[in-house]
């Protein structure tokens, strides 16, 4: 995780708001909690991100964004914030503790974006953090004030619009550019029509349009999306007639709400029937989706064919209903609905009576995604990244299926989805959420025994990973009881394996070992190779920690063979580690070193940070045994840091091995050198530690603004675009120069920012100048 923060680049130009930016900056210097309020579409998020980005230098420990739109459960607020900060998702008596500990001595700015549906949770969390972290500042966006002591509220106004009287002033259209709404219109219009300029001919109409739209940025963007096919005058005329229909009768709505709602309604009505259907249907996605997902969920009936989805999505992008964004993999494209537009689409979907059917299709797509194999093999890192991209969709699907009002078959399917994600929950900071979802699911009306069994043992496994052994024991014992009565041998096997490990870890080795043996027999009988591999690993660890290294080695060797046959890269890495430790205990240091290095390579490939920490630790013991005390101590220091990052504890037996190695190193080196070597290892990044351990060239420091690891590689076209940005060209000018569409130019700029970790065009310009790239 970049220590400077997690802000990403802006997709479109930021226009105006100079006064508001200055106000936010001043407020942040004086108050510790600043809340930007205002209705949907007014630009709160853009303003917050821009202000925070501009203020980054003032925060030594960075600026961190947590987007809350997709979160419905207030109990997960602290965990979500922790994930944004890159903290391990550990169990704690109070959810705020880990955040306070991390932020207490840090000078950072947190952005809590979209607090309105979790106002009280955000308020209580913000208050607790501000009390415990003296140098922390929080910038929140919300439709409602948080009502926290010391909070400064800034109501984000609409953009300035010219009055009717102002249009007759000398200077004509040139004066219009001093109105923010007009400048925004011009900027977004140029993205659609590169040749569009505001002149004396169209100036009054544009001004009237901006007034009609009350200067609301989202409404203006929706309107400019129509310029491909309509003139500003035609847009205004249609808006006028649309608003006339809307404004008659009904309860009074605030004018700004009418303007935005009216624009949304008008945009909707201008679409074809299939385009409207597409808007309604994509509104079930939470936050973003890709084309495959859209084809699965939205198509397949007489209204929308699978072949038409790509064109429909493209059309909605062109009309500013959807935003095109880059996925985690820069080559992947995702689409996103702004919250206000998505909420509108959902209302329309409900009005058509189609919401449930679409949510079931959305659930089906999520379930298929979770059921894809990928947790074990060479593609594990990619599998994790893909699920991470879809996390909000998975969350929405689980929320839908695990509602108390859902029928039993849907609840069962939802539990199945939560369980299918059992290897995903621990991977990227979703442990608390996974545990909470399963706990809530188990509280729902009685489910068939196989469904409950699986949920119980998966919940028990997650509790073990979060080091909640008492909680794990309770769940796994229930799983075994339920599995025994069902009967459900596969569930019994998993529950027994994990309970055996938990009991061993809790100091009951006899019962633990017996359970592991019975689990292994059950898995072999059922032919579950993953279960066999898993249990061999757990049993092997128990045997190692019990001093039975020969028996452990046999088990790890069998596991390694099976994993190689099955392509289970993650578990193979663990087996290599186990064999390494067994070899080390047998004083075969050469073999031990080779095996541990092999394990470390596999752990890196699988993004398995537990095994990375284990392998670094054992490589430290091996180095000390080979009398390379300095190297060994650095590895031990790096291992300690790696464990701390994931809140991992060493088993007591393994801790003894560590202590033995430290004493042996102390016999070889003077104490100051011991301390220095440990400290040197402790400050290594994971990538540096792995490279050091494997004798690889040290990874270079992050390129300016680039991600940690390999230097960013821009395509030839991206380099051209970067060079033109350095010349001060706007997106539309770049598009004209390269004979591409403005949207394509926008996308290239976004990709450049993502790859280089930048958030402003000036950073691109500086990088381009420094790297000497030019067209």
């Amino acid at each position: 995780m970049d220590a400077r923060g997690n802000l990403t680049g802006e997709l479109t130009g930021f226009v105006g708001r100079r006064a508001e930016l200055a106000l936010v900056r001043q407020s942040l210097s004086a108050a510790r909690l600043v809340t930007l309020t205002g209705p949907g579409g007014i630009g709160k998020t853009r303003l917050a991100l821009r202000a925070a980005s501009a203020a980054r230098r003032a925060f030594r420990d960075g600026v961190w964004l947590t987007e809350l739109a997709g979160l419905r459960d207030p109990a997960l607020l602290a965990a979500e914030l922790a994930r944004s900060l890159g903290l391990f998702d550990q169990a704690a008596p109070w959810g705020v503790t880990a955040l306070s500990d991390h932020l207490a001595a840090r000078q950072a700015l947190l952005i809590l974006d979209g607090c309105e549906h979790l106002t009280d949770g955000c308020a209580v969390l913000a208050d607790a953090l501000l009390r415990g972290c003296p140098e922390l500042r929080i910038l929140a966006t919300s439709r409602h004030v948080l009502r926290v002591a010391g909070e400064v509220t800034i109501v984000v106004p609409p953009m300035s619009v010219p009055s009717e009287a102002g249009l007759g002033a000398p200077g004509g259209s040139g004066d219009l550019s001093r109105y923010e709404a007009v400048r925004l219109f011009a900027d977004r219009a140029a993205a659609v029509l590169p040749e569009f300029v505001i002149d004396d001919g169209n100036g009054p109409v544009v001004a009237a349009l901006c007034r009609r739209l009350d200067g609301i940025p989202l409404a203006i963007e929706l309107a400019t999306g129509r310029l491909r096919s309509l003139s500003p005058g035609q847009i205004l005329a249609r808006l006028d007639s649309g608003f006339g229909l809307l404004s008659g009768g009904g309860p009074a709505q605030p004018p700004r709400h009418r303007a935005l709602e009216g624009t949304l309604e008008w945009s909707y009505e201008l679409l074809t029937g299939t385009e409207r259907a597409a808007w309604r249907r994509v509104s079930v996605f939470a936050r973003s989706f890709d084309l495959d997902a859209a084809e699965y969920v939205c198509a397949g009936d007489a209204v929308i064919s699978p072949e038409s989805v790509a064109d429909l999505i493209d059309s909605l992008v062109a009309k500013s209903v959807l935003l095109r964004t880059a996925g985690q993999d820069a080559a992947a494209v995702r689409y996103r609905l702004l919250d206000t537009i998505g909420a509108f689409g959902l209302r329309k979907l409900r009005a058509e009576g189609d919401e449930r059917a679409l949510r079931l299709r959305h659930f089906g797509w999520c379930a298929a995604l979770a059921a894809r194999p990928g947790a074990w093999g060479a593609g594990r890192a990619r599998w994790l990244a893909e699920l991470d991209s879809e996390h909000e969709n998975l969350r929405a699907a689980l929320e839908f299926s695990l509602s108390p009002s859902s029928p039993p078959d849907v609840v069962a399917a939802g539990i199945g989805l939560a369980c299918d994600l059992w290897r995903y929950w621990p991977a990227h900071g979703h442990l608390t959420e996974g545990r909470r979802i399963l706990a809530s699911a188990l509280d729902l009306a009685d489910q068939p025994a196989p469904v409950r069994c699986r949920a119980l043992w998966v919940a028990g496994y997650l509790a073990i990973v979060q080091a909640d052994l008492p909680g794990a024991r309770t769940l796994l014992e229930k799983a075994i009881t339920t599995a025994r009565s069902a009967p459900d041998p596969p569930a019994m096997a998993y529950a027994a394996a994990y309970l055996g490990y938990a009991l061993f870890s809790a100091g009951e080795p006899g019962e633990g070992s017996a359970l592991l043996e019975s689990a292994l027999a059950l898995h072999r009988e059922s032919g579950d190779s993953v279960g066999v591999e898993l249990t061999l690993l757990l049993r092997g660890l128990v045997l190692l920690c019990s001093g039975q290294q020969d028996a452990a080695a046999l088990g790890f060797a069998e596991c390694a063979r099976l994993c190689e046959r099955d392509g289970n890269v993650q578990f193979q890495g663990h087996a290599q580690w186990g064999l390494a430790v067994a070899a080390w205990l047998s004083a075969d240091y050469q073999a031990a070193g080779e095996l541990a290095a092999a394990g470390l390579r596999l752990a890196r490939e699988a993004e398995d940070w537990i095994n990375v920490a284990q392998c670094l630790e054992s490589l430290g013991w091996i180095a000390v045994s080979r009398r390379s005390a300095g190297r060994g101590l650095m590895l031990l220091g790096a291992a300690e840091t790696a464990r701390a990052t994931i809140a991992m504890q060493l088993q007591p037996a393994l801790r003894e091995y560590r202590e033995t190695a430290l004493r042996a190193a102390g016999d070889l080196l003077p104490q100051p050198a011991v301390a220095a070597a440990l400290a040197k290892g402790a400050v290594m990044t994971p990538a540096e530690a792995i490279s050091f351990a494997l004798g690889e060239a040290a990874p270079s420091g992050p390129p300016p603004g680039g991600p940690d690891g390999a230097p960013p590689v821009l395509t030839r076209r991206e380099l051209d675009v970067a060079a033109l940005v350095a010349q001060g060209l706007s997106n539309s000018q770049i598009a004209a120069a390269l004979v591409i569409s403005s949207r394509t130019a926008e996308t290239h700029v976004a990709h450049i920012m993502t790859k280089l970790g930048f958030s402003t065009r000036s950073q691109i310009a500086a990088w381009s100048a420094a790297s000497g790239e030019s067209t």
Partner: protein, 103 residues
């Protein structure tokens, strides 16, 4: 609250093992604030009493509320995982001072 005589009592168990005293105080402040906010929205809930068992880090919090959902809600808002919640009866006289945090 106009008349909370018909509210039920619910006992919540938290595990505070390892939480320093200062953090315990912060957590309970957060819980009290969560109750205050929910009550201000018209939800009928009151934080009655807190009992701490230092020997094993258990904390028992007593709430008066309409239903267990209201009690879960305030604990969720306060980011305070609960181990168990149970409807209880009590012979002790709970404090009826509204708006005060129970000690």
């Amino acid at each position: 609250m106009a008349d909370d005589a018909d509210l039920r009592l619910f006992l919540v168990e938290h595990n505070l093992r390892g939480l320093p005293p200062a953090e315990q105080a912060s957590a309970h402040r957060a819980l009290a604030e969560a109750v205050r906010r929910e009550a201000s929205r018209g939800r009928r809930i009151r934080y009655v009493q807190r009992i701490f068992v230092p020997a094993d880090g258990r904390c028992l919090c007593l709430f008066a509320a309409e239903n267990p959902g209201a009690v879960r809600a305030v604990n969720d808002i306060a980011q305070f995982p609960l181990i168990a919640i149970a409807a209880v009866t009590s012979t002790a006289e709970p404090t009826r001072d509204r708006g005060r945090t129970a000690t």
